[in-house]
Amino acid sequence: MNLHRQMLPLLALALPLGLAALPAAAETISELEALSRTSAAPAGGINLAHRQISRGELTDALATLERVLINYPQARDAQLLRASVMCQLDDRAGSTAEFGQLRGRGVPEQALDAAIRECDSLNRQRNAR
């Protein structure tokens, strides 16, 4: 018993030494976990994607939406936003195909047409350069 009592302070010293050797990535891994959690449902993922788009993080936004679609493939808003992001990334064929896939699948026509018009406008600006 006495031995254990004497060991306690030493153990308290030894354990932090061991923990200190763990990778220093914990905070960043935590960030990744937060991103994953936030995109665990369509609403959160779409909101996150919008914020990423506003910051110009287009590939991050695309990744976020694709996380959503892995488990919620029927999330039409995520599909529509994804097609728009692809357009912004200048993946014209990909975005066109994605927009085409949404027609007649329950996406509000108004929203789809608006997104397509915006993409067309962007492409016209690109072509005019």
């Binding site: 010293l13 449902a41 990334l89 007649g104 492409n123």
Partner: protein, 406 residues
């Protein structure tokens, strides 16, 4: 020896044991950020594959595999992502990342379809992906690829590949640059890749350009513009759940007369999930670069002529249609452990969305912000996003470098 001395020796030994063990552990390079059905991981060279759980950390040299109708997105520390479809196998072999300096990553894809998206732009980025017969050098890129029989199935529909004859069904590799294009917006750089095989290197610098390597030792075929049909098939492999949903929700025909139920497209050899992109381009664009992607007649209309379905209320994910059906959600929550494959749902005659498997359960990462998959008898996901854990923009990650062995 006094008891105090014994205690000191014991404690020192304990510390010595802990430090090397931790130091020898392979560095964590990312997490399984989203997954569907069966995903397994073998820790750093271990023979036994163990079921992965959502948000499980991925370390260097971990071997990651997906099962049938499965999918995984690995989110790496530099925000690069690896998305793999069904029946894929990959590992991260090297990863060095310092936000101030740059990154270097190399990964191996042994089989299956994948999508890699580079993370944050950095001063120096040097990433590569190897397949059994080809090496892909990456610069700020979204790249899709497939290794195995599915690569042959897609390539055989492309004119440029000459029918993909003399291809190895185990190692044939198809690589497609997806972007960003030269006129991209945002804080990203235009993508470019090189594909090396058989002693030759081919550069791809425009979205939708593809290269096909039929077998070991063969030189790359291409670059050629992948047909939309081929692109659709590839997307169906990388995103199998989305492809299934799209097959099940084919738009109604224009005519009012009774029409036959849309048939699933004949699977080409290799067992593709389907062609969610519909229109059969027949690979006619293969080899015909024309004006490049997006510049000519290769872009079809945006589904013109297809009647619209009844308008739905705008905004968003709170619509009931977006909630995963209760069948699998409830079943899985009650009886099926996370990441276990879910039995196929019988396909209905009506083109209603098939019940996709719900998100895997979070097993060992308790969190107050995780969102359980909604069931039919519960209200759909709220529009309030669980974003409390998300770090605000401009909050730079701490400098961090992780490097591993090859």
């Amino acid at each position: 020896m006094s008891r105090t001395c014994k205690a000191a020796v014991f404690a020192a030994t304990l510390a010595a044991c802990i430090v090397p063990a931790a130091a020898d552990a392979p560095p964590q390079v990312g997490i399984a950020a989203a997954m569907l059905n069966r995903v397994t991981i073998a820790r750093g060279g271990a023979a036994q594959m163990r079921p992965a759980v959502l948000r499980q950390q991925v370390a260097l040299s971990d071997l990651v595999e997906t099962g049938a109708r499965s999918q995984l997105q690995i989110l790496l520390l530099d925000r690069s992502t690896f998305t793999v479809g069904a029946n894929a196998r990959l590992s991260i072999d090297r990863f060095v990342y310092d936000p101030a300096q740059g990154r270097s990553m190399s990964a191996s894809v042994a089989k299956g379809a994948f999508r890699f998206m580079s993370g944050r732009p950095s001063r120096s980025a040097n990433s590569s992906i190897t397949t059994p017969i080809a090496s892909i050098g990456i610069r700020g890129t979204i790249v899709d690829g497939v290794v195995g029989a599915d690569a042959i199935a897609i390539a055989s529909g492309e004119r440029a590949t000459g029918g993909a004859r003399n291809s190895d069904p185990l190692t044939a590799t198809l690589i497609v640059l997806r972007g960003p294009g030269a006129n991209t917006r945002g804080n990203v750089v235009p993508g470019a890749i090189t594909v090396s095989a058989g002693g030759q290197t081919v550069a791809l610098e425009r979205p939708l350009l593809a290269v096909y390597v039929p077998r070991a030792g063969a030189q790359p075929i291409g670059p050629f513009a992948l047909s939309l049909s081929g692109l659709g098939r590839l997307q169906g492999l990388i995103f199998p759940a989305l492809a299934e949903w799209r097959l099940a929700t084919l738009p109604a025909p224009i005519s009012n007369a009774p029409m036959p139920v849309p048939q699933r497209r004949q699977r080409p050899r290799g067992g593709l999930v389907g062609d969610p992109y519909g229109g059969d381009m027949g690979g006619d664009m293969g080899g015909d670069m024309g004006g490049g992607p997006g510049s000519g007649g290769m872009i079809p209309s945006y589904g013109a002529g297809i009647p619209s379905l009844p308008s739905m209320p705008r905004g968003t994910a709170s619509r009931p249609q977006q909630a995963p059906p209760a069948r699998t959600a409830t079943t899985r929550q009650e009886t099926v452990p996370a990441n276990e494959p879910v039995a196929d749902a019988p396909r209905q005659q009506e083109p209603t969305p098939p019940p996709p498997p719900p998100p895997p359960e979070e097993v060992n990462t308790p969190s107050t912000t995780s969102v359980a998959p909604p069931s039919a008898d519960k209200s759909p996901p709220s529009d309030k996003s669980p974003t409390s854990n998300y770090n605000a923009p401009g909050q730079a990650p701490p400098p961090h470098t992780t490097s591993g062995k090859n």
